[in-house]
Amino acid sequence: MNNTVFEQMKETVYHEQLENGLNVYILPKAGFNKTYVTFTTNYGSIDNDFIPEGESDFLHVPDGIAHFLEHKMFEKEDGDVFQKFSSQGASANAFTSFTRTAYLFSATSNIKENTETLLDFVQAPYFTEQTVEKEKGIIGQEIRMYDDNPDWRVYFGLIENLYKNHPVKIDIAGTVESIAHITKDHLYTCYETFYHPNNMSLFIVGPVDPNEMMEFVRRNQASKTFPAPTPIKRRFPDEPAEAAETHRSLRMTVNTSKCEVGLKMPVSDKKGTEKLKEELAAGLLLEILFGKSAEFYEKSYNAGLIDDTFGFDYTAERGFSFAIVGGDTNEPDKLSQRIKEQLLEAKEGQHMAEDSFQRARKKKIGSLLRSFNSPEFIANQFTRYQFNGLNLFETVPLLEAMTMDDVVRFARTMIQEEGFSSCFVLPKESA
């Protein structure tokens, strides 16, 4: 077991890669009641074309299967795993993103028992045709719930606009139609390909003794046998640099229009620290251009073009990265035009004042410090960074070393006019 001390943050992370390939991280948090544990596989909604473990040909699986698999992991021959967590005083959950599936619990007691339950249930799949069929009704309602959610619709509508072929454009839960095709055999195939310990990470954060916990996990894993890991072969279609569609409008039963502008960015080949710098530069750029203290925000707010729902987001994962800017508005056309102009001007070096940069950087450092109060943030973000070959604890020192030039360079190379698209949700005429 190695430990890395992050002096400035006063945190220590203990790490060991076990014999079966599982990466285990432990971050002790003195003074906290809660222990939060995530067990995550580097597998998400975009991994829908791959060579199944032990086979030689590529297989394309139905949309929404990673999320479906996540749901079905909880059901076992002897009942629902939620029941067991509840009996042990733990609150359990799971989520699926574009690139990850995470199983987790938080608890203030029985930490070892709950960790064992987490490891054991994720490592013992049990799927039957009957339980798979039953889940289709539940997930169908989850999909319909999102169908009524204008924020989700505008977000996914925009991603669909941005990408022509890449599976990031597929809704994580799939559709009622696509999940109808899922069988128990699909689930086993995906499970065996992507849930090998070598493709997974366990992150424990809370008031724990790292040596004791590591030994506990080591023993649990040593008691199980896994085949030798083989490299996972995924395949992704070619994706053009330009947005697939420049615009679409959706009509929903809403009072207020929503406008989101997306910017598809070139896929970067950077790794490690350089990649992390790129992600930080993106965050700083958006803060400088669109933050609450930016001139853009003030002018647009005072003109009644935006309200406090206005915001921005940058996503960079395996093989894709994009920025999204927008919010509720009465004039979606005008807002989308203004956002696009602001970004294109930034590409030419405008709006980049040194004091705005300093302010954005301070804000980002403070916000990271605040995030380190949260066990959920630490475990989820650390895992995401690790899967991408980055280190979460490098962020603050890296930010402190960044300069305005880093942001200017990012704006110049990553903002491309062909990458723009917009998506609106507009009130139905009858509403």
Binding site: M9, G31, S109, Q141, D147, V254, G304, D307, D328
Partner: protein, 426 residues
């Protein structure tokens, strides 16, 4: 467990509560101002925090104010308004980095106190009142915020349920304000109301972080010189007898039906049976092992979410589920059966144990965040009871099945509000 060890200080115009802890990388100050929930004032109270953040004497515009916060290493400042039983509570929160974790910074906490004090005591004024333009902009934003509740169908359905159930009770009012009451508000009236709020509201200030209690309390007194006041008398609205269950069905062009069922109970936070009511709600619909989740979702695949929520200061309980409208009758029947089972005491040992374990876990987890601790403390303050979290945990542990069933018997279904798509129900 690590609980909120709080030290209180009674100042003339407010009570200061300090929690000394080194477990966070930030320090937090939370100010709560409580007044009775009333139609006449609720919309002004919803508007006021936004106008106050739109500029102070030292930072005379929203942009200047936000820049000052960013310069304090992105101190977060936010305000919201919420109902607490029959009270309306405005909450102002500032959270600032503990400079120990930064290179070459000092007194960020003192600067944060100054910023917050500026917001409450030194707003930017023109001709002695809030600037006309600011009030107009914030009114427009507030109107948009209120209108957009309609866009979130689950939230909209619960809001309509509460409006229908509490027709002659201020609890029907939305904490975020009433749309038609926004337009008539003038700068002068809002400023006048602001003065009254500072002079008359019941005020509690919480400091959580790497501070020394007495020193922090002294700083608070210097920065927030609230004048002496008398506590207002919170009259408890009379509980209503339910005669028949009312059923309201609204249709819109949506995909999924949002079912909400509102219930009343005579037990509230201040009552000795509160722990039993909590256990009841946990067994009934609070968790993934609860009766509603197991029967509506897991057994029948009718819904993705099926749960119950309790507002313990009011004695209001809501069941909710997202369903296909053709399954309306079936779902309502199953939900009612679960409630009947609870009343008849058909509760297993396992359900009791699981619920108690998770309720205790929730309470302990809440004390891990500054805001969670403040919410736990404020429950007691708002309800006027002295029940430390350790005591509540003991009470939860001691609840029996009979007491749980007795708590269930106080729960009466009042109104069903179903929002669904336009097609006919099968």
């Amino acid at each position: 467990m690590e609980a909120a060890r709080e030290q209180s200080f009674n100042h003339p115009g407010c009570t200061v509560h300090v929690i000394e802890t080194e477990k966070y990388k930030t320090n937090t100050v939370i100010i709560k101002l409580k007044a009775p929930l009333e139609r006449e004032t609720i919309t002004m109270r919803a508007l006021l925090p936004h106008v106050l953040q739109a500029g102070t004497e030292n930072a005379p515009s929203a942009t200047a104010f936000r820049s000052a916060l960013d310069d304090l290493y992105g101190a977060t400042f936010f305000a919201d308004s919420a109902k607490k039983g029959d009270g309306h509570v405005l909450t102002f929160t500032i959270e600032v980095a503990n400079e120990t974790f930064l290179h070459g910074e000092s007194d960020l906490f003192d600067q944060a106190l100054s910023v917050m004090s500026d917001v409450l005591f030194r707003p930017f004024l023109k001709e002695g009142v809030f600037p006309e333009k600011t009030v107009m902009q914030e009114k427009r934003s507030l109107q948009q915020r209120i209108r957009s509740i309609y866009d979130d169908k689950t939230r909209y359905a619960s809001m309509k349920l509460v409006e229908e159930m509490y027709k002659d009770d201020p609890y029907a009012l939305s904490a975020g304000g009433i749309l038609e009451d926004v337009e008539p508000i003038t700068s002068a009236a809002l400023y006048d109301y602001y003065r009254k709020t500072l002079a008359g509201d019941t005020i509690d200030i919480f400091v959580i972080g790497d501070v020394k209690a007495a020193e922090a309390a002294a700083k608070i007194e210097a920065h927030f010189p609230f004048e002496k006041r008398t506590a207002f008398f919170q009259k408890k609205s009379a509980s209503t007898q339910v005669t028949d269950v009312r059923v309201i069905h609204e249709t819109q062009q949506i995909n999924q039906g949002k079912l909400t069922i509102g219930c009343r109970t005579s037990v509230t936070y201040a009552d000795p049976q509160f722990a039993a009511l909590q256990v009841f709600n946990g067994v009934f619909g609070g968790f993934a092992h609860s009766k509603l989740f197991m029967n509506v979702r897991e057994k029948e695949s009718l819904a993705y979410y099926a749960a119950s929520r309790l507002d313990s200061h009011k004695g209001f309980l809501m069941m909710l589920a997202g369903i296909d409208q053709k399954n309306y009758d079936k779902t309502v029947k199953i939900m009612n059966e679960q409630l009947d089972d609870m009343k008849e005491g058909r509760i297993t040992d396992l359900e009791m144990d699981q619920t108690k374990a998770l309720l205790k876990n929730q309470l302990k987890e809440s004390s891990d965040t500054a805001r969670g601790m403040v919410e736990l403390l404020y429950h007691n303050i708002a309800a006027g009871v002295d029940r430390p979290i350790e005591t509540l945990i003991e009470e939860i542990d001691a609840v029996t099945k009979e007491e749980t069933a007795a708590a269930a018997k106080t729960v009466v279904v009042d109104t069903v509000y179903f929002l669904s798509g336009k097609e006919e129900r099968e």
